[in-house]
Amino acid sequence: MEYVALTVGFIVIMAGLWAIMTRKNIIRIIIGFSIFDTGLHIVMVALAYVKGRTAPILDNTVALDDAVNLIVDPVPQALVLTAIVIGLGVTALMLIFAMKLHREKKTLDIRSFKDLKW
C-alpha cells in the first residue's frame, strides 16, 4: 500500500510541476503548486507507514509497553502537519500576489508580466 501511495505521490508531484510549467493562467499555476504540495505530503506519509501498524496514538488499543512494535512512525507525520500549514500560508500569499497582478494588468496570463527582464 505504501508503494501505491509513494507512486501516486510522485506522479502527483510531477503533475503539479507540469501544471506549474505549462499552464498560463496564474490561478492554475497556483493550483499546480497546491497539487505539488499534496504530492509531497502523500510521499511523506507513505514513508512514515510501517506495515500493518496503527496510528501513533497510545490509547486503549495500543499498549504503552509495546508501543514500539505497534505504531507507525510519528515523525514524518509531524513534519507533514507542519508542511501542510506552511503550504496554506504560501498558497494564500501567492493568491494575494495573483490578485495584485490581476489588478495591475486585468489579466492572469503569466506571459503578460514580463516588465522585468534581462
Binding site: 500500500m1 503539479g16 493562467n25 490561478i27 502537519l81 496554506l88
Partner: protein, 90 residues
C-alpha cells in the same frame, strides 16, 4: 490486506484524475474544487496509512481552507472583470 491495497489503488486513480481535472478543466471553479477534492482523497489515503492527525489537517486546512481562499480570490477577480465588462458596455 489486499482490499486495502485495492482501495488505495482506486484512491490513487481517483486522485490522479482529480489532478488532471484540476490542471486541465476549462472552468476555474471546477479546477479549484478538483484540487480540493484531491486533498480530501489524499486525507482518506492518510487514514489508510494510519495517519489520522495528518488526515484531519489535510482535510481542514489543505483542502478546506485553501479552497475557500481560492474561491475568495477567484470571486474577487471575477467581480472586477464583470465590472470592467459593464463599464466597457456603458
Amino acid at each position: 490486506m489486499s482490499y486495502l491495497l485495492i482501495i488505495s489503488i482506486l484512491l490513487g486513480i481517483i486522485m490522479l484524475a482529480m489532478a488532471g481535472i484540476a490542471i486541465y478543466h476549462k472552468s476555474q471553479v471546477v479546477a479549484i474544487i478538483a484540487a480540493g477534492a484531491l486533498g480530501l482523497f489524499a486525507s482518506v489515503m492518510y487514514l489508510l496509512l494510519s495517519a489520522p492527525d495528518v488526515a484531519m489537517t489535510e482535510a481542514a486546512i489543505g483542502s478546506g481552507l485553501s479552497t475557500i481562499i481560492f474561491f475568495y480570490v477567484l470571486n474577487r477577480i471575477r467581480t472586477t472583470d464583470e465590472k470592467e465588462e459593464q463599464q466597457l458596455k456603458k
